[in-house]
Point group: C2
Chain length 689, copies 2
């Protein structure tokens, strides 16, 4: 019994599953924009294809090695509930206020000064343009969920100002201008200058905006950069070499290829993932950059975490298009290394502040955890791609874990303050401000905004045999099966506060297909009933396939057990020795100092566990607290006053020190640091008795 | 019973003890060298005073607020035994090979190029001159223990080459030459340029060499820098301001004052410790530098650890001369903060690599511990001064802890490899090389060399009422009481491997005085017998005062219980939760991977403790291992093969995972990493059953 529980909740690799190899290349949807350099496999007849409306976060419609295909963001409406609130604040407060901050911090002036509309110097780091592009992507995804005229007008103006800077040869970057013009695309610049990183984000922003509006203006500018500037001049010898100093262009190139069908864009991504030996780099640099050497030669997760995650996204995209077995083997090796040795229980990755990097195996400090918001987002994006390749729920478990915890913690509940790093313990005496409205390296805030804006696109996938349900919240799907049969799905739930979910399925006409229902891996026990009758074979950590002739009007009811769970870490995680974490449903919980009785210091607290599974938790929905959360109560112990101050080292006593009972109150980790600066910890020492 | 044990072994503050205020200033021993700027309180008649022979590590002979006074290094001969071996290697291998490395790395060429004897550019960082000076200090201390003609000749040549560079105005620094001449002593340069730091080490080297040889050449050059260049031009307005970018000059100025009696040197140290408001610095900088703001305004130990330790040394020296109560209060506040919240069990300090700094309270990571060798040395130097002010054994406990563990680990057993950082856990897969023959920032190696060379000076102190015995090893003291009565003390022991020590006391004539015998704080039980009769009042963590009329030929026998001890850390030390450390006598022990059975990974190991105090240890002296050590054996458990690889997070089980018994072998921490690169850990998870 205990054994089977472990196998359900573990984050462990299974054998690599290679998707079936299919034909190549994919049929293009849209021609490249540039006539001058047109040498593509694109189909000109697709120029006016209205497919932009039907494309999801990724357009996998023609990807030969995708088992699952994205559904458009607009096909899913997230209604009032957990994510509804977050998304409404995102679009009404976060995205507009970030635009004001980009303006106030000169990010748009960098463009204007080049068209004579403003003076002053270039402001901000080399990757400042990407802040603008990520914001554009956030707007693009927001508009995919419905028009927001003010937002669209603001974006239109911004896009016009961006495009005005593009040079006739296609080059577009506000940093490598004037004196720095001569540095463009030099090996050293590519290594540190983020030119292609910026362009990758420009393409992602352009694509999201195109998929929202059908407006090709920014997209065409991106295509000009790729087709006119990059492809003719850079690539394998005799062209000039490329190194991806900060991976991002790879996944953008492949998504662009999925629109244009221009195979050279895909090939360029593959060339960049392979690295070009003509640019020689020290090993420390290629580790840090997670690029510059063949992706398929990597054997462990290391280096700068965001770079690593984006590289893995690009490599998975490359696999989805090519089925290259070496890529698939490497991707699974890296995934296993990360999820079994280098990921926080929050789904955050990149534990080491130095180099914003993955640490050694099991190096997962709590106070000094880095866990950059962008890295958790990258983790979700990568797992989304791995899920598309396989339909394996182990990837969805990571998506959900990162989304609800290590990503969700990154934005304050009011939508105006952001975490760059997401520690798992915090001591306010450090003086550190964890949430800030702006960072000069402001990658995380717009990254969080684009993620929440894109969220409807993560709820479902289409497959040859039916439809996959990945995430649960009050929502409506209005889409169709791959055979064209209309399909509506309405989810009614109080998830993640409650494990009950009602799912109403209405096919436009009676139709046989499989509904793949995700049973979360965190779940100890789950029940699924169709029209009141229990279905067998419900296994946490798997998709439950329900195949039948759906006649319309079926109701599937799920009951996911949400007993609070106590987790231990692998004993090799030195920072978690003798400690436990608390989770309920998909939410990791934490203690915040201000919720505990007066005078109780968090670092003096221990959690007594009388039985396993522990039954001493009580749950309470607090509508007045942190926009409505379930808090958990559990008896605890705290060291007597003065006890902790006395000794630094003393003889081992083999029993608890002088303690007194104290009631402990846990809140969801994502909600921490939304009231006042106070101590916080996810991992609490355990007292066995 | 348990309570009293705790109070004996703890590292805890007691109330501050203010030494009695005495007259000021001290009587000088030696005039300043500079006639041109002579404006001192020095006594010219002392010019030929042979006092150099009688001066200890510090010359506290006239320090009004010193309760204890140093005994010359030459008065103590450390014979064959634990430190005898280390010191012989230090003087025959470490010091000579470091000279060769200083040459090979251009440190001496920096001097020669300025006198036209060599060409080339300045090599190494701004503080490169200090490497040469610390080496000179090591030689000085070595020569205090007896002449080494070859070493002295080498040092003479080096000193001549140093002095040749001194400018007529007294300035001496090889870095601020040529283009950088204009930067000398600018506020910015003082903050980062280490000019006065270099000079501080020059003075320390000069003083040690003078005390060995009576040779004033280098000392006079140092006095010229201070008296001709610094004092006339820098100091309180209207002179130009000083900021101590890296404290060191303070303690050197005060030691110089103790030789010259030039009160202005002491006053300048006080001015520097106070900081000069005319140089405005951001708070982050004054925290990092542990200088630039009034020393007496500090409330916690923070910033760069070596800077903090040297600043505390200087401030204690200032107190020893002035009795300034504000200094004493601050020193005790800082000492309590450090020893109760910020010190490793090895006596290492400065846990954070970022900024080589003290961390927050209880921030004591093991794998990523910084624990710079220089900081542990600074800790010992500071406690030596606090001990002089008080005679309180709590300071000696820290000295012994740092010396035997966090300092001793810094030099390989063969004397040619050095640690910069001294972690308390190590994973060889990190690829890090912990011991290296040379660092471009090579502060630690010569610092270790000067420390081991000076060691005899730490064994005893003189007091008004008799003599203090601080450290134990086979050794001979040949000195006198403060009243002039000759005194010889011979220690015969196998310490630290065995707790039995025979101390033969021979006063030149029958004489009443107090023998203050240190009973180490780590000791659970100690017995002291005089001529076979047990003495009452033996209290670990205190000096045992034995007052009597010593007639000559008395033998004191000590028995210090050396049962292996299991230590726990304050529960607030998050990195040590659920873990214990092992100590025997003054030695902290560790596990090294290569000593455990094949296939046992250290991070899978746990230590079962059936009883407290634990009785499952067996000890074994291994003469063949690591130059002869006592190893400790204890039964342990190791996770079954594959167990640790399987889960990153899983349900809390409340019981050990699948384990099998395994014998564990501990070695002294100082001896780690002397055979091959292998895993190491000081803190091991405990299994209670």
């Amino acid at each position: 019994m205990a054994e089977s529980k472990i196998s359900r909740r573990q984050f462990v690799s299974s054998a690599a599953r290679l998707a079936a190899v299919a034909s190549f290349p994919a049929k293009p949807l849209l021609a490249s924009a540039s006539a001058a350099t047109a040498s593509t496999t694109a189909d000109p007849a697709r120029l006016d294809d209205p497919g932009w409306k039907d494309q999801g976060i990724e357009n996998l419609a023609k990807s030969p090695h995708a088992k699952l295909r994205d559904i458009p963001v607009r096909a899913v409406t997230i209604e009032s509930g957990f994510w509804g609130r977050r998304r409404e604040i995102n679009v009404t407060k976060s995205i507009p206020s970030m635009h004001d901050l980009l303006e106030a911090n000169g990010r748009m002036n960098n463009f204007r000064r080049l068209t004579g509309k403003s003076d002053g110097q270039q402001i901000g780091p080399v990757f400042s343009d990407s802040d603008v592009y990520k914001w554009t992507e956030a707007v693009g995804f927001a508009l995919q969920s419905g028009d927001r005229p003010g937002l669209r007008a603001t974006a239109e103006k911004l896009i016009d100002e961006v495009i005005a800077v593009q040079e006739p040869n296609g080059y577009l970057n506000t940093y490598y201008q004037d004196d720095r013009k001569s540095l463009r695309m030099l090996a050293q610049t590519q290594t540190t200058g983020h030119e292609l990183y910026n362009m990758g984000h420009m393409l992602q922003g352009a694509i999201a905006y195109y998929r929202a509006t059908g407006d090709r203006k920014l997209l065409d500018a991106g295509i000009r950069f790729i087709d006119d500037f990059l492809l003719p001049n850079y690539g394998p010898a005799p062209k000039k070499p490329i190194v991806s100093g900060h991976p991002e262009i790879e996944l953008a190139l492949i998504e662009l290829y999925r629109i244009t069908g221009n195979k050279r864009q895909l090939e360029l991504a593959g060339y960049i993932l392979e690295g070009d030996k003509r640019i020689e780099l020290p090993e420390t640099r290629t580790i840090y950059m997670f690029s510059g050497t063949p992706f398929t030669a990597r054997t462990k997760m290391q280096g700068h975490a965001v770079r690593a995650m984006y590289a893995c996204c690009g490599a998975t995209d490359y696999f989805l298009e090519t089925g290259d077995d070496a890529y698939w083997k490497t991707l699974n090796l890296l995934w296993n290394d990360m999820t079994s040795r280098k990921m926080y229980v929050t789904g955050g990755v990149g534990s080491r502040a130095e180099g914003e990097a993955f640490g050694d195996a099991y190096e997962l400090p709590n106070f000094r955890a880095y866990g950059e918001s962008c890295a958790a987002i990258g983790n979700m994006m990568w797992n989304w791609r791995m899920l598309a390749a396989t339909g394996d729920a182990k990837f969805t478990d990571v998506i959900e874990r990162a989304l609800y915890n290590g990503i969700n913690s990154g934005m304050s509940l009011d939508g105006t303050m952001y975490c760059y790093r997401n520690p798992l313990a915090f001591d306010p005496s450090s003086g550190e401000k964890i949430r800030n409205p702006w960072y000069d390296v402001t990658c995380c805030p717009p990254n969080l905004e684009r993620t929440f804006a894109s969220l409807p696109g993560y709820f479902y996938s289409a497959s040859e045999d039916g439809i996959y349900v990945h995430l649960y919240d009050n929502s409506r799907l209005d889409w169709h099966l791959e055979n064209g049969t209309g399909l509506k799905i309405v989810q009614t739930t109080n998830y993640p506060w409650d494990g009950g979910i009602a799912i109403a399925i209405s096919a436009a006409r009676p139709s046989e297909f499989t509904l793949h229902l995700r049973i979360p891996g965190w779940c100890d026990h789950a029940e699924v009933a169709l029209n009141g009758e229990n279905i067998a074979g419900v296994t946490p950590g798997r998709y439950l396939p329900i195949r039948r002739n759906w006649s319309g009007g079926e109701i599937v009811r799920m009951k996911l057990e949400m007993t609070p769970q106590v987790l231990q870490a692998n004993p090799r995680v030195a920072d978690d020795t003798g400690r436990v974490a608390v989770q309920r449903g998909p939410l990791v919980y934490c203690l915040e100092g201000l919720d505990q009785p007066d005078g109780v210091a968090l670092n003096d607290v221990a959690l007594p566990l009388r039985s396993q599974p522990d039954t001493d938790f009580t749950t309470e929905f607090r509508s007045d607290l942190l926009e409505g959360i379930v808090v958990l109560h559990h008896p605890g112990f705290v060291a007597e006053a003065g006890e902790s101050e006395r000794f630094l080292y003393s003889p081992y006593e083999g029993r608890p020190r002088k303690t007194r009972p104290v009631p402990l109150t846990f809140i969801p980790y994502y909600a921490w640091s939304n009231r006042m600066t106070t101590a916080m910890q996810v991992w609490t020492p355990v007292l066995t008795s």
